[in-house]
């Protein structure tokens, strides 16, 4: 019974997030545009972009391989897997593949690798550069990511994210414990780096020597580009969802009920959009860091995560 419910929840999450992710990007862009005094293109523009890209003929280079076609799909599927596995609407874990932290990270890394290979496959200097930087950042982010969730897992006694969220729901004091606070800050920085946001990467520029994500997708076009964009957005949405559920776990469905699903969907939508607004406001005030400053930032977040784990032994 719980298995079926879990599958249902996963489906709900998938559908919700495929709808929500472009919207989230739209909101972020729109808020930012308004704050910067521009009119903006409306919150539905990302949706229109995807639709437009899907009806275009993709153009590929002679020397490129099947990777240019398969990579974007892989990225998209990995992001979809994230949406299915993470405790977003509800915390019912899928049978045999719990929303285990390490599995989640690995799924995310599949997407990272696919993107990096797409960047390389084009055979241009920009693609390689973006790929190289992207992978460097990903390599440096991983310790922070794992340690942060390790710290969060200690009160719950498990690395399964659904159980962590449930623990926080049952025992809200955990949320504001120093361990949790340190870990959340570290996690937030790691997610920003992983999803190519400021200050690690500037999502709204092209042809800048320091860009990461945009350099990799430079040679992609048509539906390839659509998959890449959608995959990246989904990843951002899913990770923000996770973050929000960790900070404010209330509203998440823990036992199957129709009402619970509706509440869960509603709360997670609100939480993500709010977080998106906060993100875009924050980004207005942030400048992009120099590429070789990024490791310092990541080292800082790693230190916070390590501190969080250590603190868990001191406090507990």
């Amino acid at each position: 019974m719980t298995g079926v419910a879990a599958i249902a929840i996963a489906l709900v999450q998938l559908v919700l997030f495929v709808f929500l992710a472009p919207l989230l990007i739209g909101v972020i862009r729109q808020v930012r545009a308004r704050l910067e005094g521009r009119a903006g293109s409306g919150i539905w523009q990302p949706w229109r972009d995807v639709r437009k890209l899907l009806v275009k003929n993709p153009v590929r280079a002679v020397d490129s391989s099947w990777m240019l076609a398969a990579g974007p799909v892989t990225l998209l599927v990995s992001s979809l897997l994230l949406c299915a596995l993470l405790p977003l609407v509800g915390t019912l874990p899928l049978p045999l593949i719990p929303s285990d932290l390490f599995v989640i990270v690995s799924v995310m890394l599949i997407g990272v690798v696919a993107l990096a290979l797409v960047g390389l496959d084009a055979g241009t200097a920009f693609g390689g550069m973006g790929s190289s930087r992207h992978m460097t950042v990903a390599a440096l982010v991983e310790p922070t990511l794992l340690l942060a969730v390790y710290a969060l897992s200690i009160p719950a006694g498990t690395s399964t994210l659904s159980l962590i969220v449930e623990t926080r729901l049952e025992n809200p004091a955990v949320i504001i414990s120093p361990v949790s606070l340190l870990a959340m800050v570290a996690l937030a920085i790691a997610i920003m780096a992983e999803t190519s946001r400021l200050p690690v990467d500037n999502p709204s520029t092209h042809l800048e020597l320091t860009m990461l994500h945009e350099a990799m997708v430079l040679e992609a076009s048509g539906r390839d580009l659509a998959w890449l964009e959608l995959g990246s957005w989904l990843k951002l949405a899913a990770l923000l969802g996770l973050l929000s559920n960790l900070i404010v776990p209330w509203g998440v469905m823990t036992d199957w009920s129709a009402l619970g699903v509706v509440i869960g969907m509603g709360t997670v939508t609100v939480k993500i959009l709010l977080l998106g607004v906060v993100l875009s406001v924050g980004e207005v005030f942030l400048a992009k860091a120099r590429l070789f400053r990024v490791p310092e930032l990541l080292a800082g977040s790693f230190a916070l995560a390590l501190l969080a784990v250590t603190a868990s032994y001191l406090v507990a």
Binding site: A125, G128, M129, L209
Partner: protein, 526 residues
Amino acid sequence: MSFALWTPLALPALLAVLSLVAPSPAVRRLSPVAASVVVLVSGLLLVSVVLADQVPTLGDGLLRADALSAYMLTVVGAVGLVSTWGGFGHATAVPGRFTGSYDALISIFLAAMSLAVLADNIGLMWAAVEATTIATAFLVGHHRTPRSLEAAWKYVILGSVGVAIALLGIVLIYAASRGTGEATLSWLVLSRAGLPLDPALMRAGGALAVLGFATKAGLAPMHSWLPDAHSQAPAPVSGLMSGVLLAVALYAILRIQTITDAVIGPDFLRIMLSVGGLLSLFVAAALLIRQRDFKRMLAYSSIEHMGMMAVGAAIGAAALPAVLLYVLGHGLTKATLFVISGRILEVEGTPKIDDVRALLVRRPGLAVPWLIAMAALIGFPPFSIFFSEVSIIVAGYSTGMGLVAGIALVLLLVIFASLTRLTVAMTIGAPAGTVAAAASAAAAAAVPAVSAAALTGVFPRVDADASVTLADTESIPEEPIVPDRSGHGPMLPLILALGTTAVVAFIAEPVGTLLTRAAEVLGGIQ
């Protein structure tokens, strides 16, 4: 079967006379080989007798073959055969009257060595060992060059002085034995337990005798003659000295150790032999690091192996069978190597390692046996030296001599690395002409450049010169040089020698029994 006691003495002596007077060069040449065969066959006969629980004696007990003597006689014969047969065809002709002197001296050498291991009397054994000094002196000086003269002079002076010290020790042992009523120098009598021997005299006598024979055994610090003599003597003689002379000297040490330990306990000689053994290993290690001459390299390796055997002797009972097997393995291997080194010297015309390059490509007929024998020498299985070394180390730790064994291992590592480096330098690499290129490539490789890069700004550029290019790993450049597959001499003795060392360690019966019996003679295997 007691005739087998005199055959290895008399027949080689006869053959020596024959080679002096025989007109035919073929007879002359064959006589040392025949002498070796006689010794080997006698040894094997004695072994079979000994294994049947008999101890043949001759001449009022003056000659006696217990398991140890029989075994050593076999070793003398076997190593002698490899050296003489392998050295067959070696340039030995000496202008002048004594054309047959070389072959005669080798036969005499073998006879003297046989006497040394068969004599039941320490004095007689001493005389036999000293007699070999005399025989080998001319063999070392055989080439009559200033260098060989120098080597011979050093050999005689240092060797005789050492043996004289041994004589002093034997005299003291003799004096100590007066307490038994009848002064004696018989191994059999002296190794009986519970004799009223004077401990102070035995201690001094044993120590001096061991020190003296250590000279002949090439143990540091008495080893100095060895590299010179081995490098200057004709290759078969070097093989004989390294495989037989050193072994017989070690045999003497082992015997003396037995009778001394029975009186004053094992500690004294244990310390002395440990120090000597480790010092030998140290000397060998130190001088192999930058060795330039491949015959000297082999000589230092002999010092190393004798050192290891001395360590084994110091460890005592538990390691004795291993030491005895070591004697055989080292003898055969080293004889093989010296024989090949003689051939390399002959065809290359230089003993310098730097001048001998790329043997594997140019002369596989010599390089392949050389490499196999080197593998045996540095202790790779299935060759018996591996088993001996492992057994000695294991026995060392179980007798509480872990520190000695540990230091030995450290030194062995240095020796191993040096020997490998030198062997590789001789055999691997590009043939002459490309030697310079190969050398520079090796030098470049010594400066570790795991990755080299060429970057210009944003746009990376591959620079072929800057990056480490790896040549085609699957293709081989065309070599104009026709490889010389000739072995430059009989190969059968080398194959037999290496084959024997490869299988001997796996023969439990009768080799295992023989080794155990021989070790029992020395008071091993309680």
